[in-house]
């Protein structure tokens, strides 16, 4: 699982389970918090379609954290006001980078979170799909 895929999966993982897994990792893994955890705003930009001009559309709240473990860095940014979750996610990211003994479980956990999200989207779409329509002229 690529690093970017990990961060994407962290954003959809169950928060309590993520924190519990990070706590377990921290029993045998020393980290130094190098950034945050901070709650702040991310400005979401949109490219409008006429002139392909980016503009500032809306802000979203985000939580961000970064940790160091030896020469390895762990980073996380999540949408919403979840600083504890962001810190836990950064710990898991660093643990995978450092090939901690629990790395396979972390990756398995994140892969399951990603699959659950994909299933949820498919289920949402399945509810919508019957409204797909081709109109016919009445003339």
């Amino acid at each position: 699982m690529r690093r970017e895929e990990r961060l994407e999966a962290i954003g959809v993982a169950d928060g309590d389970a993520l924190i519990a897994l990070a706590d377990e990792v921290l029993d045998t893994f020393d980290v130094e918090v190098t950034r945050g955890p901070t709650v702040g705003l991310l400005m979401v930009r949109v490219e409008e379609p006429v002139e392909r001009l980016p503009f500032n559309f809306t802000e979203v709240t985000v939580s961000e954290a970064e940790v160091g473990a030896g020469s390895h860095r762990g980073y996380a940014m999540l949408m919403g006001k979840h600083p504890e979750r962001a810190l836990a996610a950064a710990v898991l990211d660093a643990a995978v980078e450092a090939e901690h003994v629990l790395s396979p479980r972390i990756i398995e956990f994140l892969a399951a979170a990603r699959d659950t999200e994909a299933d949820a989207w498919a289920a949402r779409w399945s509810r919508i799909a019957p409204t797909r329509v081709r109109f016919e002229d009445m003339t």
């Binding site: 490219e47 006429v50 001009l53 503009f55 709240t61």
Partner: protein, 361 residues
């Protein structure tokens, strides 16, 4: 009767504040935040859009605290956002990346990928449903599992117009100028298009609807056709600070409107096309505002402007912001004792002078 400035009243003011607090919480049926998120979604979307902050948890809290007043709730969100640091900027997302959940065209019957009605009240009758007066089970929905749409399954309808040469093609490359940010700088005129779009995206739904309606009725608006109205989830992409690669950290639900405006020239130099475009994008499901935004954008993009109000960007941009408008109108209820006393004194003096003049004959 005398008018003068006053002091005091602190006890009464504090009591009034406690009354507001009781209004929110003094009930055996207190509103829970998940109820707002799950059942007042459209109000929540409006509040987050006009507050300029997408966060359903904070939005729900604001709605509860404001007793459902959308302007007050968006004011709370805007006030709260000033306490938070700006941590960064996303890569610009486009409607092409939207995870589509509704997509219709009133200009074309057949569109590539087909129309998707999605969740809509467009075909319902406006009759009160008394079965909702008490708790009831949801109706059965027969929806077999199907695969989610593939990327690119719903291309933009305006691409067809562009392919036909009826609308100006999109520039090959994205503009690279830093967009204006209304949260950091005061409005200036003439405004940049980026600044205009940001102000429109944060505008108040009712005000924008009213202006767009006035425009359609002949006060300078762009009466076009909805080439496409789509809603879904927009990816929020950032640069991973370690690898530098784009990464999606989540989604923001949005509604987009692509308005085709007839008879206007596009901005492409040296070319004129039969149709121009107006664009609207808003947070959440708020089609009324998205369509209104596309009408106002189309009006403000006109190259040859009339003196109609909707083609005046100062008029439009200054009057669609709910917080500004609310603040200015509602400040009139705050004490103006000194000012009005002065007005009364002037009036009284003028009356005396007029009386004296009449007496002199």
């Amino acid at each position: 009767m005398g008018y003068s400035s006053v002091r005091g009243g602190l006890d009464a003011i504090e009591h009034a504040e406690r009354l507001i607090d009781l209004t929110v919480v003094d009930s055996p049926h207190q509103v829970e935040l998940p109820q707002v998120r799950d059942h007042l979604q459209l109000l929540l979307d409006q509040v987050m859009g006009e507050g300029g902050v997408y966060d359903p948890d904070l939005g729900a809290l604001a709605v509860k605290q404001a007793e459902g007043d959308p302007i007050e709730a968006s004011f709370l969100l805007r006030a709260y956002r000033t306490t938070l640091p700006r941590l960064g900027y996303s890569f610009p997302s486009t409607g092409r990346a939207l995870r589509v959940m509704r997509r219709i065209s009133s200009a074309f019957r057949d569109i590539p990928g087909g129309q998707v009605l999605g969740t809509t009240r467009d075909y319902t009758q406006r009759l009160l449903d008394f079965s909702l007066t008490s708790r009831r089970e949801p109706s059965t929905l027969i929806a077999p599992l199907v695969d989610a749409p593939a990327a690119g399954e719903f291309p933009l309808v305006i691409d067809g117009l562009r392919d036909e040469g009826l609308a100006a093609p999109a520039p090959v490359r994205q503009h690279d100028e830093e967009p204006f940010d209304i949260t950091r700088e005061p409005m200036r005129f003439p405004a940049t298009r980026a600044g205009r779009l940001q102000v429109l995206a944060r505008g108040e739904t009712g005000a924008m609807l009213s202006l767009a309606y006035a425009g359609l009725r002949g006060y300078g608006g762009a009466h076009g056709y909805v080439a496409e109205l789509r809603s879904g989830d927009l990816p929020v992409m950032i640069s991973h600070p370690v690898t530098g690669n784009p990464v999606r950290i989540g989604w923001v639900p949005v509604t987009e409107c692509y308005q085709v405006v007839g008879g206007q020239a596009s901005l492409q130099e040296g070319e004129r096309h039969d149709y121009d475009l107006g664009y609207g994008i808003v947070t959440g499901r708020n089609e009324r505002k998205a369509i209104s935004m596309s009408i106002l954008d189309g009006s403000l993009r006109k190259r040859e402007k009339s003196t109609q109000p909707l083609e005046d960007e100062e008029y439009v941009m200054y009057h669609i912001d709910a917080i500004e408008a609310m603040g200015f109108v509602e400040h009139l209820k705050l004490p103006h004792y000194v000012g009005f006393t002065a007005s009364l004194q002037r009036t009284s003096r003028v009356r005396e002078l007029a009386q004296a003049a009449r007496s002199r004959g």
